[in-house]
């Protein structure tokens, strides 16, 4: 029998909700216990948060000054060391997990399964390819460890209320010094909910026309308590920062309500929103492909419609 290890994503202070989504994926592996590894400079607080996730047996705390920032080259050898006791190693399919898990897999000499969206058995999974235009069912060899990323949009966050034990581990692993963290600059969404956990997301596209006009999206988002997203074209044009991009190369999200305004609906954008419960599209072009997948569509000029919505909502 095996055991699952999830690598926690965090910013040194807070456990990222992507970890709780991985725990829900792990719950689909009947009979396998699930642990969480927290690599941090001082992991106390993160470990306490991880220990409350329902379904987690053990939280493995690995403190090291070198773990202050999540650098794959530094995390990977430590995780490869922890891997000895485990049959399955999971990270979220966020930029954190995508950067890290292939490096772990290669150190272990095994393949990686990217973006698990459903679990068929301990060694069989479904995952999207071609920007989600096809879904493959794959099988991995039972003698190999399964290293994988979990498609976070496919899973709800595990509930709290658990009480896992926290175990301190000191790892005797040589860590490289060839990669050094410098800084992170984020737009932080101006105090708005973040894309991954928001129940409502409002996105703007090239149709907004300028950074100044993009304020219309923020205003509407604030009215609804929504997170703000964007198409690649809007990010490329400088209307909004990159961490708001939704799609194949941005974030894959699964809100209850997604409102796309001035977005044409390219497949790379649709990939990021397919898991939304309800999609609303506002576009002046009645033939825009976004209407093919929208649950509610409204053809018209966003510059008249947004102010009207603000009054009505």
């Amino acid at each position: 029998m095996g055991r699952i290890l999830i690598i926690a994503e965090h910013d040194g202070n807070e456990l990222n909700p992507s970890t709780a989504r991985c725990v829900s994926c792990a719950a689909e592996f009947s009979g396998l216990d699930c642990d969480i590894a927290v690599l941090a400079k001082d992991g106390q607080r993160i470990c306490e948060q991880a220990a409350t996730l329902d379904g987690v047996s053990n939280v493995v705390r690995v403190d090291n000054d070198a773990n202050e920032h999540a650098l794959a080259a530094i995390h990977a050898p430590q995780i490869a060391k922890l891997a000895e006791k485990y049959s399955h190693l999971f990270g979220p399919s966020t930029t954190f997990g995508k950067d890290l898990m292939p490096r772990v897999a290669a150190l272990l000499g095994v393949a990686q399964v990217s973006d698990i969206m459903s679990v068929i058995s301990h060694y069989s999974f479904q995952r999207p390819i071609f920007a989600g235009n096809a879904i493959v069912t794959v099988e991995t060899p039972a003698q190999d460890k399964v290293v994988a990323t979990v498609r976070t949009a496919s899973y709800q966050a595990a509930a709290g209320g658990g009480s896992a034990t926290i175990e301190l581990r000191v790892l005797d692993v040589e860590l490289p010094s060839h990669t050094r963290y410098r800084s992170t600059s984020g737009s932080n969404g101006g105090g708005r909910p973040d894309l991954q956990s928001a129940s409502v997301v409002i996105s703007g596209g090239r149709g907004l026309g300028s950074e100044k006009n993009f304020a219309l999206i923020y205003q509407l988002a604030d009215r609804l308590g929504a997170a703000v997203g964007a198409s690649r074209a809007a990010v490329d044009a400088g209307y909004i920062a990159n961490d708001h991009q939704v799609g194949q190369t941005g974030q894959i999200i699964s809100p209850d309500l997604y409102i796309a305004i001035g977005i044409s609906g390219a497949i790379q954008h649709i990939t990021g929103i397919k898991d939304a419960s309800t999609i609303v599209a506002i576009n002046k072009d009645a033939d825009a492909p976004i209407f093919e997948i929208a649950d509610i569509g409204l053809v018209g000029d966003l510059f008249t419609i947004i102010p009207e919505l603000e009054l009505l909502l």
Binding site: P102, A105, H178, T179, T184, D243, Q248, L313
Partner: protein
């Protein structure tokens, strides 16, 4: 300084609407337009710009696959690469084997930098660069939107979920490109002619003494559950009414 290696994958063009075969055995690729994976094209553009700034002497493009991938290598040469290497194989390879092959190339070519796309838009794996860096024991900078070289080190800005992260690392290193790293140049007709005379060396996979394995077996390919076209509303008021009815506003 020396040399940059850029990996180019032959992939279904990003404009093609992918369809799953009715028998679930894969996707339809017959007669479909093939191109250089767009992220790899961006990687190559970056390497060319580095050479144009005088920060490297040579840009070498590598592709692994059947002779059909020579077409993508020629595109790379037409964009401006100096020479090309094809590793010839009929196998469809998993990222781990691609990384193993690239390590062999790295051992002989000894580049200062390897640039590749952060993912190929067919398998969407997003693994090869990271695996190569691990096997090679060198730094990785993934999802890069800005790259600066300074002697034996480099600085990269990475597009991460939290925003933009800056890291510094020693060379040689592996870089995977994100979309905003640059906008690739268009290939001009005379360059295509010139590319025909540039060197393209072919090595058979067997010569590298690597036996590819199928670790991840694809059992079945399905179409994703389709979202249905929904309801059209006439104006903002009707939209809000509809949202209220669905308990969404």
């Amino acid at each position: 300084m020396g040399k940059i290696l850029v990996c180019l994958k032959r992939a279904v063009d990003y404009n093609v609407r992918i369809r799953v075969k009715p028998d679930g055995s894969g996707v339809i690729t017959d007669g479909v337009k093939m191109s250089v994976n767009p992220f790899d094209e961006i990687a190559l553009e970056e390497a060319l710009r580095i050479r144009e700034k005088g920060e490297t002497d040579e840009v070498v493009v590598v592709s692994i696959g059947t002779d059909a991938c020579q077409q993508q290598l020629r595109t790379g040469l037409a964009m401006g690469a100096d020479r090309a290497i094809q590793v010839r194989t009929e196998h469809s390879l998993e990222p781990l084997d691609v990384a193993r092959i690239l390590v062999r190339i790295v051992e002989t070519e000894k580049p200062d930098l390897i640039l590749l796309g952060k993912q190929a838009i067919d398998g969407d794996n997003n693994q090869t660069g990271q695996m190569l860096a691990a096997l090679w024991g060198r730094p990785q900078a993934t999802f890069v939107s800005e790259l600066k070289l300074s002697g034996t080190t480099a600085t990269a800005v990475r597009e991460v979920d939290a925003g933009l992260e800056t890291i510094e690392f020693d060379l040689p290193a592996v870089i995977t490109s994100d979309l905003r790293l640059n906008e690739p140049r268009y290939v001009k007709m005379p360059d295509i002619m010139k590319a025909k005379r540039k060197p393209l060396a072919t090595t058979d996979l067997e010569e590298l003494d690597i036996t590819p394995e199928t670790r991840i077996k694809v059992v079945k390919t399905d179409s994703p559950p389709a979202r249905q076209k929904g309801k059209m509303v006439a104006d903002a008021a009707e939209l809000v009414a509809e949202l209220k009815q669905r308990d969404l506003a």
